[in-house]
Amino acid sequence: MKRLPFSAWHFVLAPLALLFALPLVWLLVSSVMSNAEINRFPPALWPHGINLGGYRYVLGNALFPRWFLNSFIVSAVAVTANLVLGSLGGYAFARIRFAGSKVVLGLMLATMVIPFQLTMIPTFLVMKELGLIDTLGALIVPSLVTPLSVFLFRQFFVSLPRELEEAAWIDGCGRLRILISIVLPLARPALSTVAVLTFLATWNDLTWPLIAINSDSTYTLQLGLTTFQGQHHTQWAAVMAGNVITVLPVLLGFLLAQKAFIRSLASTGLKG
């Protein structure tokens, strides 16, 4: 690799990047501090050693492992369902001619502008009727498929050349078979975009779990963390350890699949 010449821009960009990173560094640092260091005045700016008391507390005495599992279940089901239902719907809207498809697609896209506050009370009442309030089902059902997932798949499938499918069609392959064995293997960008956006939305959501869940054993991580902070506001090391556990899956996912994350999020902007 060619070495790049030193640029004066580093004097601007390095402090700037540090400014954005600093709160997260502090999150990690304070999660391994002892309560004595934090409760001193003025509080310590750097720990004297690594103290895992906070982590031991949240993993042993609190429900964090349970909340982690709940969040994982909700996100995993939502991502899988969005990939399956979104690609089925997106494929039909892109390729199959059927009565009413344009109207239904238009209606579905129109629902994207409906703000959540407008639907939250009736959705709560619907979930109550279904007996799902205070269960993970109440979190899963509304996130099974979003209009954005269907739309992103549709846009991707429209851009694929039809010729790829024609040979299989003439051989008498059914639509489902064509979708699974020919189209989806080519659709990795769309699959990863929908997976990333669905995971971010479900893992990070607070408002809906706050409304739909009452018992602490059914909390998601975001709701659990928020409640935990309210009850333990003198045990900051433990709160920050819980916060690290809440943020870590998203951060790791982001660092491992940075390109997919950035492309997904930027694409919502450029096509939007």
């Binding site: 640029s7 954005f20 003025p42 629902t111 489902l176 990070n204 408002t207 902070q229 999020l265 902007g269």
Partner: protein, 308 residues
């Protein structure tokens, strides 16, 4: 009898097969889209109409509701808490949207060059965006804790007076703006960075040759080319800002002294804390109409720019 279409001879049997296939195609299409249609339309169209009915009723989510016509909307207009919720939301939006978009553009331009560590810089600027509002709120509640927080600790080291932060009604709302800028600017940066790749380098070169300086290129080439991106970001950030809730819930719960009660916090409180669902629905409809107006105005503006 075989009929002739163009130069092909079409066997009537295969025409029947094609018809049959077209019929099953329709069934297949509906089978593919019906799960999405049921879930998406069922959980949007029905609730939207239901909310509208609720907004004309008194409803506590439990007992049968009572029809009150426009009383909820009239009460909203006179409710000083709603009035201040609107003004807090507007202050938050008017600060957050332009600052995040302008900072996003400036940082994107700074990051749009091939130098060492540029990937690392981009990652660090963007990474707060994927952190949930709940996690941000909990983190900054600690950093800004008047007693145990590192912020006052640093102020102390610098010989500056300690601050109340979230316990100070004069500061809380502005701190929420600052936290949102920390996490939300990165999104503007990556969208602008993607947009900058689409700015024609030939145009930039041509402007340079014509004697344009850095500012000239920015003003007359780069910015006009980025206008659609800018309109999208203003729309996106405004819609998000008008709906801010999670961060407020985690950090201040609308306080101190109601200084950070924003519209969605008001809506949530009325629905799920005081159980006045009809009143809450009326506030939600008011917000939705405002969002729709913002959306339509910016879309019309975008069309006009695009057709120029």
């Amino acid at each position: 009898m075989a009929s002739v279409v163009g130069t092909f001879t079409v066997d009537p049997r295969s025409r029947a097969a094609a018809k049959r296939r077209a019929r099953t195609e329709g069934a297949t299409g509906w089978a593919f889209v019906s799960p999405s249609v049921v879930i998406i339309l069922g959980l949007s169209v029905v609730p939207v109409l239901w909310s509208l009915l609720l907004s004309f009723q008194v409803n506590d989510l439990v007992s049968p509701s009572e029809w009150v016509g426009l009383a909820n909307y009239k009460a909203l207009l006179k409710d000083p808490t709603f009035g201040s919720a609107v003004s807090h939301t507007l202050i938050y939006t008017v600060l957050y949207v332009p600052l995040s978009v302008i900072a996003g553009l400036a940082i994107a331009i700074a990051l749009d060059r091939k130098i060492a560590f540029i990937g690392l810089y981009r990652t660090l600027v963007f990474v707060p965006f994927v952190v949930s509002a709940a996690a941000q709120g909990v983190l900054f509640s600690f950093v800004l804790d008047p007693e145990f927080g590192v912020a006052n600790s640093v102020l102390h080291k610098l010989g500056l007076p300690a601050q109340g932060f979230f316990s100070d009604p004069g500061q809380a709302l502005y701190l929420l703006v600052a936290i949102s800028l920390w996490s939300g600017t990165g999104f503007c940066v990556i969208v602008y960075l993607a947009g900058l790749q689409g700015v024609s380098s030939e145009l930039v070169e041509a402007a340079r040759i014509d004697g344009a300086g850095r500012w000239g290129v920015l003003r007359h080439v780069t910015l006009p080319a980025l206008t659609p991106v800018t309109i999208f970001l203003v729309l996106f950030q405004t819609i998000n800002a008008l709906q801010v809730f999670d961060l407020v819930f985690v950090t201040t719960k609308g306080g101190p002294l109601g200084s950070t009660t924003v519209i969605v916090y008001f809506i949530w409180e009325k629905a799920f804390k005081t159980f006045t669902a009809g009143y809450s629905a009326a506030a939600a409809y008011t917000l939705a109409v405002a969002l729709l107006v913002v959306g339509v105005v910016l879309q019309v503006y975008r069309r006009r720019v695009a057709s120029r």
